[in-house]
């Protein structure tokens, strides 16, 4: 079983965040769960900590539809930032959108490892962590 030090959620949906946090906790595989309410907060944190390996997450569960900076815009910014980071950050899109357009678009971005359609179960979370 893999263990994750830092699992980050980027999502503005309080209910989803509450329930997913509970589910992550139940896996007993994660030390720290960080939550950002939109893409901007997340990307600002990553920029500030790009040289601080311990603060950076191993995996980000990224929502697409968010205020201020949505998931796509976050990915644009992240693509610029990624080469400057000395740590592999796995990004999994986690959206309620079942639109094939969104799935196709996500697949075309090399920084994106997977596309998960909400809801996310505990088992799926374990799969994701083991896949790291």
């Amino acid at each position: 079983m893999n263990r994750v030090k830092n699992f980050t959620l980027v999502d503005d949906d309080d209910v989803f965040v509450f329930l997913t946090t509970k589910a992550i906790e139940k896996t007993n595989l994660v030390d720290l769960i960080k939550v950002f309410g939109n893409g901007l907060e997340a990307i600002e944190f990553l920029w500030e900590n790009k040289d601080n390996m311990s603060a950076l997450p191993e995996i980000i569960l990224l929502d697409l539809s968010m205020p201020i900076m949505d998931g796509w815009q976050f990915l644009e910014e992240f693509t610029k930032l990624n080469p400057k980071i000395g740590k592999k950050i796995t990004i999994v899109i986690c959206s309620s959108s079942i639109s094939p357009d969104d799935v196709m678009r996500a697949k075309s971005i090399s920084e994106v490892s997977d596309y998960v359609i909400k809801p996310v179960t505990k088992d799926k979370l374990i799969d994701l962590i083991n896949g790291l």
Binding site: S95, S96, P119
Partner: protein, 498 residues
């Protein structure tokens, strides 16, 4: 006698001379006669004069000649004769009858001079003239022909010209060629025709002309300038052919193409709206549904009664949210479906002032400065309830996203666009939107760009839906922390939207 010999010598040297008896039998020829007829004197003398008959002249002509000289009169004329080798020559001929005591001719002296070259030239000229006449006939039959002088005054028209222009030739001749001007072509185009032909060059092109009864016709036109010895045009010959049917066909095809393109654009637009709508459903309706499903699952699985109660409490707001989004969507569909809605005549100043009453508290509280400049386009035709909703939305946005550093300033302006639409701008000095970051999203449902507690991301989506339902356009310009300007283009017709 010396004198007579001198004359004879002079005559022989200068002319073709033959003498026949009263029956026409040759009794004398001079050297010139032999030279031109290519017979020797021996071959000729004793022969009937008809030996050099070319058969060219009619029997009547020959009979008349004989009648004249047999009556003792001198005959003058031009004859076509045949030489020994079959070649033809022309001679200007004078036949003088010599009379006996009974006043009857006993011999005829024919004095001729060679006019073959002149006659050949004449014949060629006649042939060319005939050809020209034939050409003119063919041209008149097949084409529409008009001739004007160098000033453009019509000097000649053929029947075809009269037929197509529906004028009589009397009505046309002496008139300026502009009598058939349709006004369709630009001044520059007409000027370029004149420049070409005035410089002595041929002009070819397609022209739309107007007939006497006001109908139009298209002609494929070639204008040929005829030049005088100074190379200046002294007249212009215009040769045309009727291409009205072809041009009308082309016009029809062009119109149909334009229609098809317009339809395609409409369909593309509708399709974009549909895709947008699918995305809205996918993003905005599915999210709260999943929340409910997850919450219910959690309640089912939880064994801790306190936790179950806490999670149950979370369901209610999600259901409310789902309901809200759902109602908003239904409202927007109603706008899209409401194609029957009629435009009202809106006096903008009154309409805006009425809406501003609703913002009175905010205006006073924030010391806002609101300017209305709608005198350039004071009236717009648009559904009243949409206009109120649009203005309320945009003005409330300006207040909601005002800068904390400045007193709000809002300017509402209108003007007429070049293509007959009304453009309204609503600009403020507020926080602005980072359009580089948000440009595709600002009018989408549930997109917000500020961390404002009231930001729901629905106003601009609805505003855009209302504007587009009436075939209008909306777009924005903004710089973060400078302000924001919304542009709305109203089609502003009194008619219903299509």
């Amino acid at each position: 006698m010396d004198n007579v010999d001198d004359y004879k010598y002079a005559l022989d040297e200068s002319s073709i001379v033959a003498i026949t008896d009263q029956k026409g039998t040759i009794i004398y020829v001079n050297d010139n006669f032999c030279k031109i007829s290519k017979y020797s004197a021996e071959e000729l003398i004793g022969q009937d004069h008809r030996i050099i008959n070319s058969g060219y002249h009619s029997k009547d002509f020959i009979r008349e000649l004989w009648r004249t000289i047999a009556n003792g009169k001198v005959w003058k004329g031009e004859l076509k004769n045949k030489a020994k080798d079959g070649s033809i020559y022309w001679v200007d001929t004078t036949i003088v009858p010599f009379l006996n005591a009974d006043n009857k001719p006993y011999k005829y002296v024919a004095i001729r001079s060679d006019i073959t070259n002149r006659k050949i030239s004449e014949e060629e000229l006649i042939k060319i003239l005939q050809e020209i006449t034939d050409y003119k006939y063919a041209l008149d039959e097949s084409a529409i022909v008009a001739i004007t002088n160098q000033k453009g005054i019509i000097t000649h028209v053929n029947e075809n010209f009269c037929k197509i222009s529906k004028y009589d030739s009397e009505e046309l001749i002496g008139q300026d060629h502009r009598i058939i001007n349709s006004g369709y072509h630009s001044k520059d185009f007409i000027k370029s025709i004149w420049t070409t032909i005035a410089n002595g060059k041929v002009w070819k092109g397609e022209l739309k002309n107007k007939a006497k009864d006001g109908t139009y016709y298209w002609v494929d036109t070639t204008i040929v300038p005829f030049l005088n010895q100074y190379n200046k045009p002294y007249q212009y010959v215009a040769i045309r052919s009727d291409i009205t049917e072809r041009k009308e066909g082309e016009e029809l095809i062009r119109l149909n193409n334009a229609k098809v393109i317009e339809q395609a654009q409409k369909l593309t637009f509708k399709n974009t709206q549909l895709v947008d709508f699918c995305n809205i459903v996918s993003h905005n309706l599915r999210a709260p549904l999943i929340n409910i499903a997850m919450l219910v699952d959690y309640v089912e699985q939880s064994e801790d009664e306190e936790e179950r109660l806490m999670v149950l409490l979370k369901i209610k707001p999600v259901v409310n949210h789902l309901m809200e989004v759902f109602n908003e969507l239904v409202e927007s569909i109603q706008i899209k479906q409401d194609t029957e809605i009629k435009s009202d005549k809106i006096v903008l100043k009154d309409c805006i002032e009425k809406i501003l009453i609703g913002f009175k508290t905010q205006i006073v509280e924030y010391e806002a400065n609101i300017k209305i400049k709608v005198s350039k386009a004071p009236i717009v035709y648009f559904p009243h309830k949409y206009m109120e909703s649009i203005l309320t939305n945009l003005i409330s946005n300006s207040f909601k996203y005002k800068s904390p550093l400045r007193k709000p300033e809002i300017l509402i302006e209108t003007k007429n666009t070049q293509d007959g639409k009304v453009q309204m701008t609503i600009s403020d000095n507020g926080l602005g939107i980072d359009l580089v970051r948000h440009k595709d999203n600002i009018f989408k449902i549930r997109k917000t760009f500020h961390k404002h507690p009231d930001a729901k991301g629905f106003g601009l989506f609805m505003t855009k839906t209302q504007v587009e339902a009436m075939n209008g356009k909306i777009w924005a310009e903004s710089q973060p922390d400078k302000g924001c300007t919304f542009f709305i283009e109203f089609k502003s017709t009194e008619y219903e939207p299509s």
